[in-house]
Symmetry: C2
Subunit: 251 residues, 2 copies
């Protein structure tokens, strides 16, 4: 993956995308996605792991709701990764993650992920740099395990919002009664560390891109949702899935 400089990476849709047309396109993709997810479940061969990373208010929750929200929940699981519990801290950092790796036929969404262990922990210097480097290696090994040993297709999205848009959204959380539940007093403190986070993300892109990252311009939700939905659709299409036939004994 080519070097990424987030401060000069656009957070808005390329000029050729109009909001109206893209939203229409999104609807048609979502309809197709519904069928593809059903086929993935029925074939019971591959699985899909969708990793969502991004700063607070970058729109991870909205992406889950608007891209995956209409799918059959029998085949779609969402797992958020927050502050580790005491029991999780007793184990290696991938222990709690591996438990939620998708089974055959499933779509598993990680709302934040194992990457927090090389992001927030690094920015706050909770672990030393030597450990961070070792974690990069362990993450690459882990993603390879899922891909090679369970036919899991991994899509890693980084939701890229500009500093201005992030602050606007965080402010809204203090004003809009329907968004106050998302407010966390630490959010503004974290947002002030944006440059440090971007630096940490750039290093993640540098060291953990055997499974490539998809950087999603996310200042406009309609474009963000379109990019994610289209990527998932294209990935599922590429699997050339087929409905299983009757077992020969029952023919």
């Amino acid at each position: 993956m080519a070097e990424v400089k987030l401060s000069s990476t656009p957070a808005t849709a390329p000029g050729k995308f109009s909001k109206e047309h893209t939203k229409k396109e999104l609807l048609s993709i979502l309809a197709e996605l519904d069928d593809l997810q059903n086929l993935l479940f029925a074939e019971h061969k591959h699985s899909l792991l969708v990793v969502l990373q991004g700063m607070d208010a970058s729109g991870k929750d909205g992406a889950v709701r608007n891209v995956f929200g209409k799918m059959n929940p029998m085949g779609v699981l969402v797992q958020p990764f927050k502050t580790p519990t005491a029991e999780e801290m007793n184990h290696d950092f991938l222990w709690r993650i591996h438990q939620h790796a998708p089974g055959k036929g499933m779509i598993q969404i990680f709302n934040r992920s194992h990457y927090e262990d090389v992001l927030i922990q690094r920015v706050h210097k909770w672990v030393d740099e030597k450990t961070i480097k070792k974690r990069f290696g362990a993450i690459n090994d882990f993603e390879k395990l899922l891909e090679e040993h369970n036919d899991t297709h991994i899509l890693k999205f980084y939701l890229h919002v500009s500093r201005e848009e992030q602050w606007k959204r965080l402010e809204e959380r203090t004003q809009d009664p329907t968004k106050m539940w998302k407010y966390n007093e630490k959010d503004f403190e974290e947002a002030k560390l944006l440059k440090n986070y971007w630096k940490a993300y750039e290093d993640v892109f540098r060291h953990c891109s055997k499974v490539p990252w998809i950087i999603v311009p996310s200042d406009q939700n309609w474009y963000k949702e379109y990019v994610i939905a289209k990527t998932v659709r294209d990935t599922l299409r590429s699997l050339k899935m087929k409905f299983p036939k009757l077992p020969s004994a029952k023919k």
Copy 2:
């Protein structure tokens, strides 16, 4: 690890070990082990993973009972790995294993392990050779993860019994009323494949010895138990553990 040829590897104790003296020595080691396990639990820093592998009737269950049976069960867990469940089969072969990796302060015993996926599955040709090679790599990555990211010390024991001793013990299971519960009609069929298993084990020693294997002559239970207990004791001793002091606030 040097090449191992199991057909010419002794399954009995070296001549200098007398049964009487070794059993006395074992008792003193077990007493020390009890203290060391308590210290491991109290310090809450390292953990120990004991992998027991070997043919049917090689004495894995007896090793668990006689070496670890007197320890505080609060700090010692045993996990057998048998035929995978349907849910386990939906995931990569290390998924069910990783869940039982020891937390800090714990001793975890695996009665059979992830190595079954490159032993029984290989001998019966349930998976192709390419997959076996990839699994060797995944196993090495996994053991490295536990060692480097949670201070887990791994001890891998192969319990080596001779063909004659194995058949004698399997026969006993058909005669001795206290052993019949262990009888499985497939045991004799499996025992006939001894040479194939030995070949598969030799390849495991060749490819998965970054964490070295300890080959335990196991025709005599007293010697097998002595070797395992002594190795665990020496490993725990080497950790230079200390009881934690009071937190300074409470001094």
